[in-house]
Amino acid sequence: MVASVPRRLTTGRAALLVGLGVLVAGCAKNAPQDTFQPEGENARKIHDLQWPVFAIAGIVLVIVSAAVLWCVFRYRDRGQPIPKQTHGRPALEIGLTILPALILIGVAIPTVGTLMALSKTSDTECFVNVTGQQWWWEMDYPAQDGCGGIETPIVTSGQMVVPVGTNVLVRGTSRDVIHSFWIPRLNGKRDMVPGRVQTLRIEADRPGIFAGQCTEFCGLSHANMRMEVVALDAADFETWKANQLAAYEAPEEGTVAAEGEQTFIAQCSRCHQVDGLEDADGAPVIARPELYVYSEAAPNLTHLMTRNTFAGATWDLVVEGCRDRVWQATPEEFGAIYLEGVTADCLNEVDLREWIRNAPEKKPMYAEATELGPTDGKTRGMPYLALSEDQIDQVIAYLLERH
């Protein structure tokens, strides 16, 4: 009995420490996917709704818990005789039915209002098609009057660039399984379902990067299926658009990058599109991922180095110092820094090299030949290409010029 007291104390302290640890874990300062830090009108609507709902739910929790605890302690068994048994207190029962109903009605009215506001599409100023597939997101900007006018479609992946203070409508779908698009600081989640087109409003208050994550389990690399929304002010967005639509610039002859162009055509262009790329006969090189990939799509790499992530936004294309420079930039300087793209000094060559060398080893995917029976030989994700180190050097040099 004597020994049990310190053990109980030890257990209590351990429980207290664990509880404090859990509590402290929720206080991260750098939490890019924190839904309690809204950075746009839509996320703010959710935020403005969830706080009062949490508050009401918290008050109810406290009252009910206090009532239960009071009953437990007040009427605990102390050897007293069993009290007189009564059946029913109509006034109390009716009151305790009406009160929760009123609370729920009080919660439902702003909830429905928020839902309707978040599904509104009549004030769209720009729309972007977002398509999920295992395990990356494709964003394409169709020709439209919105977004300041786009005459030729822009196709990118991993990072969706939008103008600040603009109601952007995401028209989302999926090419294979159900995914879910969620940028916590800008809006709630939206499932992207094959064969269906779902809409989601996106609006950012300030220039910056807003991280997101696929939130519907979608297979082996679900955890590695990330995405970001990059908000630029109007002038910077126009610069970004112009750059995305700029004509293809072939590498200078005799350079490693020029060799990389040929390696890219031979090894990568089956699936990856680089707009403007031509073969030796001057014919456009057109990717045919539908022949090799289960989702029938692979990221467009025309301007890979204008975005600073790759492989489903799983890895940074820039080294840590350069990454911090972009992520921690003030709203005023963010656009200029982001538009610099990936320079040779900032390139995260380690991860990119490992990825090109053996992608399935770096990110879990169904790309082994022995696993392709159910998909008729098509891979889910990038396969192992057996490139030599020289070929990898060439491809990296070539990609580094894809600004």
Binding site: T121, S122, T124, F127, N129, T131, E138, D140, Y141, P142, A143, Q144, T152, P153, I154, V155, L169, R171, T173, R175, P194, G195, R196, V197, T199, Q273, D275, P284, I286, R288, P289, E290, E296, A297
Partner: protein, 384 residues
Amino acid sequence: MLPTGSKLLIGAAVAATVAAIVYGLTQEGSLGTVGLIFAAAALAFLAGVVVYIREADVSAMDTAALSESAAAAAPPGDSIWPAVSAVGGVLLVVGLVTYSPIFIFGLVALLAATVDWMVQAYSERASADARFNAAVRERIAHPLEFPILAAVGVAVLVYSFSRIMLFLSKTTGPAVFGVLAALLLVVGFIIAFMPSIRSGVVAGIAVIAGLGLVAGGAAAALDGEREMHPHETTSALSAEGQCSSTDETEADEHASQNVAAKANIAAEITLGKDGTLTAHNLGLVGDQESVSVVRANSTNVRFRNESDEDRRLVLDLGTRAETDETGETIPDREVPNQLCTQLVEDGGSQLLTFSIPTPSRYADAPYRFVVPGVDGAEVPVNVS
């Protein structure tokens, strides 16, 4: 002198030998000859055994054996399981070199024979009373035999029934089965109103009907199913490059005019009364000049016909190489590469589902929606 019983076997062996020679000389193929030679050999072997043991007539030489030999012990009861085992074994072997269903039949026969033979052998050792032993066998075997036999019987009847239905033509089938149903009803009434009818008669009628059904099913199965004409769909029009037709085709029969209205869509294309074609992309405000489509993704577009005539929506993807019936490309021959809805009546709507792998910028010709028979009705399709 040859024992009496052996004469039959010797005669059968000789007959099988002669049959093997005749069959081998007159018929093509060696399977029959080989079978008959094996039969002759087996019969000759059995005849030899019977002659050697003198038909087990031990009493002729040893009178003590009448009470002491194994043959004097009570013989086991009649059993079909040795024969079933033999048939099962043969089917098993034949099935291995011919068809897998025969192998499965053989396996089932062997399993059934093994189980039931064991039960029978066990029950025959229960006591010296044959009736008691038979009761023991029934108590063990019937809970297994009855459900299996019932299931097999029902399966055979249903399968026979289905073969007959698939054999008869679409018009004959209802007539035949209408008459059979009426006959069944009449027989049922007769039996119901004649309580004195003997159960043997009823059982006989049922057995004859069942055998007739099985025989009919077997005959129908051997003759094969009737030729069934698959209902043509708009994919046939697409394959033949006939989407531009304004005429009603078989693919337009039984067209659903409203199911599509419930589906999720990327865009809606409307043909107005004035012959204009307008597009509305989901989520965008008002009408647009074109439809925006994601590359290589299954996309649903709804066509709403508000004109006064039956019209179909055609997705024109340029041209493609013509293929023959086997799917092989015919050199230097091209047909329109199109997908289309069925003819949609005034006020109706239809869904068109498609996937375009190549972006518009790399297409040989612009992608567009058109309505055959309506000049100028066109909406561009932009594939990113």
